[in-house]
């Protein structure tokens, strides 16, 4: 018989309440009515709760309450076949974990079985149970059980269980109650399940749609970046797009990109070149070194991807300023992926950050790797381009030098490109030069040499040459140039261009010529002067009465010659005034006598260098003679030197007249002095010189064409 007086059992793991409850209560009509009312209320409440259940959990709770209320069991559970067809607990009350684990999967029916019958075991002690199951059941303190199938469309989908700690007599009323609950629960579960299935399907569809959308978006961005990379474009704009793509691909809150400067620090430093959403924190990571407590620092150390799913738990960040700044910026998780060039060289880093603990999915990382390869390519290319651009700029600056003509020519020496200095040099415009050849510009006399050198370069015998040659300018004038020509080759090693640097060396050439002439002239003068000195020596000695006298005469003449050179040197050997020549010649004698012994009179006359030398030497001989034998050999004599220029005849007249000296006796033999004055001077000035040894005083009359003695004024 069934016990109708059982009360609902509250949670009571120790079974104290259950044990204390009286087993047999006198059945009365009132009690039966009350129980019936309670069961009806419980079922009604159950139905109501099932309708209002927002979730499966609510449904299970309602069902467990109804099972306890109506079947008066000590424990209860609800199980359902899972996706793999295994009977699994979905809800339970007053069952140990050990028990649930032990009976997991146990089912009297297989999934989908039709019209399953409830099973009641009044006493486990007498039931036909497998031994291990019996032990498990008894270990849990269970003595009676009810297996109530939950069906959908007549097929078993699960069960609910009621457990008792004493043997139990189950009557038809109990069976009806259990089946009613099972039917209600079954319908509800079916409905909830289909709703849940719908929602799940919807959410799966939504998620996969979102995923698909993200993937499409990511793919689109990757393609855009590929396209941008292929086109010539602003590198920094492409960096920005890569960052946008990284944020999109990784569903991250921020992203950053760094370029490695291997030359900096020990092991290189990373320079932040672009970021998304890092804000002020970016400043702190402008440069990151190899010992930095960041994911990029870690990746710089091991050249591998670094993932920090929660910076607060990341070993290498603990206690660092970096961590504080990450947290301040709201960054909780991050990953850094090394950017490797095609040759495997590390060129930079691509990082993404999240504001929550996050472990990026593998698929996202794979897409990021595609992006990273593109970023690495971009950096490589940008670097190569930068290098090329800088080099080109340098070369362009050299090419455009205002001081040196530069030209690029085809191997046939036709002009391809020229700079402004080159046009200045040759007088042809850049456009005119395009139809000209380097040999066209070259002076005809210099063409064979130029042709030879070009041929030797083109046949590979030499890689460059320097030649000094003449150009005929557009206006016909000739200039000297120094040409430095070198040859460039194409990839196949064929001659590609002649590169030519041209310098106008006309001034140098003129200076060289002038210098050569000057050296020749100096040489000529020195040699002539030495020959003059030789003549002095020869004449002085030949005519001397004694060696001492000869030596003295020679020295005096040498000094006179030297003094005349001094006069000329002061005037850059361009000539000198006659008055200066006269004063220079008589200066040695003037000093020891009063001024009155010389009377000098004549207009200013500029003499040629040759006349300066000839007159100086003549005056020296005359003065020496005057001191020795003439007007200056006593204390009373004087010398008058006067000259005039006859403009009508164009002749120059000079008179040396001595007076007041001892009576002059003509010399017995014509000496060198006389010869020098009469013959030498006459010859040098192409004039006539008359030397008279008059008794009253020596007289010397010089008569010469003005054109022969006058110098440039």
């Amino acid at each position: 018989m069934l016990d109708r007086n059982r009360q609902p059992v509250p949670d009571d793991p120790d079974n104290t309440l259950l044990d204390a409850r009286p087993q047999i209560v006198k059945d009365t009509a009132d009690r039966a009515l009350a129980r019936h009312a309670r069961e009806q209320a419980a079922l009604f409440q159950f139905t109501d709760r099932l309708y209002r259940a927002a979730s499966l959990a609510d449904t299970y709770e309602a069902a467990l309450d109804a099972i306890f209320d109506t079947l008066q069991c000590r424990a209860a559970s609800i199980l359902r076949f899972d996706r793999n067809g295994v009977m699994s607990f979905v809800a339970s009350r007053n069952l140990s974990d050990t028990y649930r684990k032990a009976v997991h999967g146990h089912s009297p029916w297989t999934e989908g079985e039709s019209d399953p019958e409830p099973i009641f075991i009044p006493d486990t002690a007498h039931a036909d149970l497998p031994e291990d199951l019996r032990k498990t059941v008894e270990a849990e303190g269970i003595r009676a059980l009810a297996f109530i199938p939950l069906t959908s469309a007549g097929r078993v989908r699960g069960k609910f269980m009621a457990y008792y700690n004493r043997p139990q007599q189950f009557d038809q009323h109990d069976v009806d109650l259990a089946v009613t609950i099972a039917r209600q629960l079954g319908f509800s579960l079916e409905r909830a399940q289909s709703e849940e299935d719908r929602l799940e399907a919807q959410s799966i569809r939504a998620a996969s749609e979102k995923r698909l959308e993200q993937e499409l978006e990511a793919t689109k961005r990757l393609q855009e970046i590929s396209a941008a990379l292929v086109q010539e474009g602003d590198t920094s704009a492409i960096y920005e797009r890569i960052l946008d793509a990284a944020v999109s691909v990784m569903s991250s809150d921020s992203a950053s990109m760094q370029i490695l400067h291997p030359e900096r620090g020990k092991g290189g430093e990373l320079n932040l070149i672009a970021h998304r959403g890092l804000g002020d924190a970016a400043k702190f990571w402008e440069w990151v070194s190899i010992d930095s407590a960041t994911s990029c620092g870690a990746s710089l150390r091991n050249v591998e991807r670094t993932i920090c799913s929660d910076v607060r738990e990341c070993d290498f960040m603990q206690g660092t300023e970096d961590l504080a700044i990450f947290l301040k910026a709201g960054i909780i998780s991050m990953q850094t992926t090394p950017l490797l060039s095609r040759s495997g060289r590390l060129v930079g880093m691509l990082s993404t950050h999240w504001r929550k603990p996050y472990e990026p999915p593998l698929g996202d990382l794979r897409r990021l790797d595609v992006l990273a390869r593109q970023a690495a390519d971009l950096i490589e290319r940008a670097r190569a381009e930068e290098f090329l651009r800088e080099r080109q700029e340098r070369l362009r600056a050299v090419f455009n030098s205002p001081a040196i003509g530069a030209a690029v020519l085809a191997p046939d020496a036709g002009f391809i490109e020229t700079n402004a200095a080159f046009s200045d040099l040759c007088g042809y415009s850049a456009d005119e030069l395009l139809s000209l050849n380097a040999l066209d510009l070259t002076h005809p006399d210099d063409r064979p040499a130029m042709r030879r050198l070009l041929d030797r370069m083109l046949d590979g015998s030499r890689s460059n040459f320097v030649i000094e040659k003449r150009y005929v300018r557009k206006d016909g004038s000739v200039i000297w140039v120094q040409n430095s020509v070198s040859l460039t080759h194409d990839e196949a090693g064929r001659p590609l261009h002649l590169v030519k640097l041209v310098q106008d060396i006309t001034e140098r050439k003129v200076a060289e010529k002038r210098q050569r002439l000057l050296i020749d002239e100096i040489n000529h003068r020195v040699k002539n002067t030495l020959a003059t000195v030789q003549s002095f020596a020869s004449q002085s000695l030949r005519n001397a009465k004694s060696l001492a006298e000869g030596r003295a005469a020679f020295e005096a003449r040498l000094i006179a010659l030297s003094k005349s050179h001094d006069v000329l040197t002061r005037q850059h050997w361009e000539g000198a005034d006659l008055i200066d020549v006269v004063n220079g010649a008589i200066a040695p004698y003037r000093g020891r006598s009063e001024q009155g012994r010389f009377r000098i009179e004549g207009e200013r006359l500029r003499l040629s260098p040759k006349a300066v030398l000839a007159l100086s030497l003549a005056f020296h001989e005359l003065a020496t003679n005057a001191v020795k034998y003439g007007a200056l050999s006593n204390d009373t004599g004087s010398v008058s030197i006067s000259w005039r220029i006859d403009r009508t005849t164009g002749r120059f007249h000079l008179r040396w007249q001595e007076s007041g000296g001892p009576a002059v006796k003509p010399p017995g033999r014509r000496g060198f002095g006389s010869r020098l004055v009469e013959q030498g001077l006459a010859q040098d000035i192409a004039g006539e010189v008359r030397l008279s040894f008059n008794e009253a005083g020596v007289e010397c009359a010089i008569d010469a064409p003005l054109t022969e003695i006058a110098g440039l004024d």
Partner: protein, 126 residues
């Protein structure tokens, strides 16, 4: 007096030289050799006319005559089949090829060198 100089006795010489002191030096030397100086020219035009008109056995030509080269004068003398000697302060390289068989005296020179040069010049032509 050297052996070379002795053979020069009686030779008639034209001297083209613009430095009077050097003229005197050469005059003295030639006088010592027993040569006869038939003319001295220190001007280009004068030298040209003397080279054409005078009768002489040998000429001594200064390469630089008051800044002008005397090669045209040498050509005239060569054309007459008369030997000549250059005297110069420049190197021998400045003599044109057509005239470079003539002996060149580098100034300053000794009397013996002058005699040798004259002998060589006379020997080559005869």
């Amino acid at each position: 007096m050297s052996m070379a100089a002795r053979d020069l006795s009686g030779r008639r010489v034209l001297l083209v030289e613009d430095e009077s002191l050097i003229v005197m030096l050469i005059e003295d030397a030639l006088a010592d050799f027993g040569c006869e100086i038939v003319g001295v020219a220190s001007r280009f035009d004068d030298a040209i006319s003397k080279a054409r008109s005078l009768a002489f056995d040998l000429a001594i030509l200064d390469v630089n005559l008051a800044g002008a080269r005397t090669f045209p004068i040498a050509e005239i003398i060569r054309a007459r089949g008369i030997p000549f000697v250059f005297s110069t302060g420049y190197g021998a390289t400045s003599i044109p090829e057509s005239l470079n068989s003539a002996p060149v005296l580098q100034k300053p020179f000794a009397a013996d060198d002058l005699a040798s040069a004259i002998s060589i010049a006379l020997g080559r032509v005869s």
